[in-house]
Symmetry: C2
Subunit: 377 residues, 2 copies
């Protein structure tokens, strides 16, 4: 059976977790396991009528031909059009309890009612969980998060293509927003421009963190980007569920010597970390290198270095941190962030996304990373 994910890896991970069936609920994991498919009507909102759209995808270990999707009654057409591999689609009400009852029935039909069922307990609604416990009293329930995250850790070429394209779009949208920000523009207006630019390129806007000058309010607001002030634009969007997250700096007028010093310290940290990323490098060592490089730059008290995997979830595998023993592998995608929050200058930050390659790493969307963007006059 042809699957859009690594079926053998899923079987192995489920075996390690002791799971007989995974029952996925989150948009990111359903999308991943369904090869990009998700009911379009509920891609961007879930609440409807008295509850919410509750898709439940059941995949028995080593038996994908017995998989099922409890979904909305209106999604059969799209599933057929997109050639969804899941053999059984079970139309249900858009209600967690009803969907859980239908899933429990499908699990019993497959003889797995006394098996171990892996769930996303931090997402699945309490009412659905209560129904599953009641309807499947002989089942054991375990957490699916870690093995599903592991399944997604190495990106395939098609995933890398999407991430490459949307990260470039994000970087371009940020530059366009800087360039078009006329005197008097508020951070809310500048953020809106990013949304328009992303949308025009088919990337669905998600957020902008922004702060102008020494005020540390990191949200779009009525604050005007004033002369001499630095501005950071840290924007995210998505396409087919894949996330982009880029931060670039601008200044209205010339940045002060101190602002330049902070920017250079961030950039040097990013560069040093990027140079160390390659297959086999340990996550813990990469993390320490970033922290130490930033600290050595002399603004330690105001600085923060952060590094995390990226994909369908912001901050996914690989996980970094002191002592993390995991070696990097080609196909992993990583977000690297360095910021310095200085009371006189404001919030200076650079964030890049890179993909680990066989020999090092490839920057995705590097546009504008080494320069201060200039605002419209």
């Amino acid at each position: 059976m042809h699957l859009p994910f690594d079926g053998a890896k899923l079987d192995r991970l489920m075996e390690e977790a002791g799971a007989d069936l995974v029952l996925a609920f989150t948009r990111h994991n359903i999308r991943y396991l369904c090869g990009g498919y998700f009911y379009h009507f509920h891609e961007r909102f879930q609440a409807i009528a008295e509850a919410q759209y509750t898709p439940l995808l059941g995949v028995p270990r080593a038996q994908p031909e017995r998989a099922f999707l409890v979904g909305g009654s209106g999604e059969r057409g799209q599933a057929k059009d997109q050639k969804l591999w899941v053999p059984e689609i079970i139309p249900s009400e858009r209600h967690p309890a009803a969907a859980a009852r239908d899933a429990a029935r499908a699990i019993r039909k497959r003889g797995l009612e006394r098996g171990t069922i892996a769930l996303e307990l931090d997402f699945l609604p309490a009412s659905a969980m209560d129904v599953l416990r009641r309807e499947l009293p002989g089942a054991r329930f375990v957490e699916a998060l870690h093995f599903l995250e592991e399944l997604r850790a190495i990106k395939r070429p098609g995933e890398l293509d999407i991430l490459r394209r949307i990260t470039q779009t994000d970087a371009e949208a940020i530059q366009a927003a800087f360039r078009s920000a006329k005197p008097g523009a508020t951070t809310r207006q500048i953020a809106a421009r990013i949304e328009q630019e992303m949308t025009g390129q088919g990337v669905h806007f998600l957020w902008v963190f922004t702060a102008a000058g020494p005020a540390m309010l990191r949200a779009p607001s009525e604050k005007v980007w004033a002369e001499g002030e630095v501005l950071h634009l840290d924007a995210g969007g998505e396409q087919a569920g894949y996330l982009t997250d880029v931060c670039r700096m601008g200044c209205r007028g010339e940045p002060s010597p101190l602002a330049r010093e902070l920017f250079d310290a961030c950039l040097a940290t990013q560069d040093k970390v990027r140079a160390a990323i390659r297959p086999g490098a340990l996550c813990g060592a990469i993390h320490d290198l970033g922290c130490e490089t930033l600290k050595d730059a002399g603004h330690g008290g105001h600085g923060q270095f952060l590094i995390h995997g990226m994909g369908l979830v912001s901050h996914e595998q690989p996980r970094f941190g002191p002592g993390a023993r995991r070696p990097l592998e080609a196909g992993m995608v990583i977000s690297i962030e360095t910021d310095i929050r200085h009371p006189e200058v404001g919030y200076v930050k650079i964030e890049d996304t890179v993909a680990v390659t066989p020999s090092g790493c490839e920057g995705l969307g590097d546009l504008g990373r080494g320069q201060w963007a200039v605002a419209a006059a």
Copy 2:
């Protein structure tokens, strides 16, 4: 204490439900109770790191001065900038179990650990609910959905302003998409145009249902809108959490006599129902009127009439259906939908939003409802 909602009404509804404290989790209810406030970073995506952003807003009955919001550590600045009324903000991890522990602590601090706590059980993650049950063994848990929905049922003038503006934007976006659809355009391209138009007007795109010609696939796809085919565009978006939902018809070339007949039947049903909407009219009677008018038009087997309240949730109060005894009140907002799915013509549908006024109803975004839109040549 000045609250952005009707505090006396909430107290009364909570008293009827026997609730001592409401602990809201959904974006729509937190937004409503917080007067529009929601942490901007997580407005459009929740999953992060090993779990999800889990805001929990606690409001004790008749004691709003003891309310609290368990939220992200990064949202204090925005809360202050937007003058959020909630007196205590409790920064937490972005994890349901951690947020639930922090909420349980806040509930104990208020002496309500043996009280009745109203929750949104169809949304709150199972892991958060498990923590609340464990941490508050003396508490009783009840469902908050119905009284929070009731609290939102009558829209205030500011809410009506938003709904009026965004429904007009939706109707304009649909007309622009029809007008710009050149020969060879796919339904996916036409849908993308709606997204761009909405975004340009500050409305966040959510979905487009669309179907070209007799094929009943109701999702954007590679299907080309061909000569002579009808096309419906049923699009939704949101601003500040408020939803818009409009459907208009177009045809590439002249609609056939049968297509015109179906369209006229839909329009006549919509018109007749709208003429009957006024304060005091019973929801059940309105529902029956729509169903009977459509049936009398002679395409009963292919037709469907649907009517529902609208606001921060699609399909909220007032609820319609056979025998519904609730009388309409000024300030309610209603979506009215009539469709006929005919095997020879395709999917013909009109959907309008109206607000109940003291003397009848006001159409929001009526642009294009009585005509067939024409495609670009």
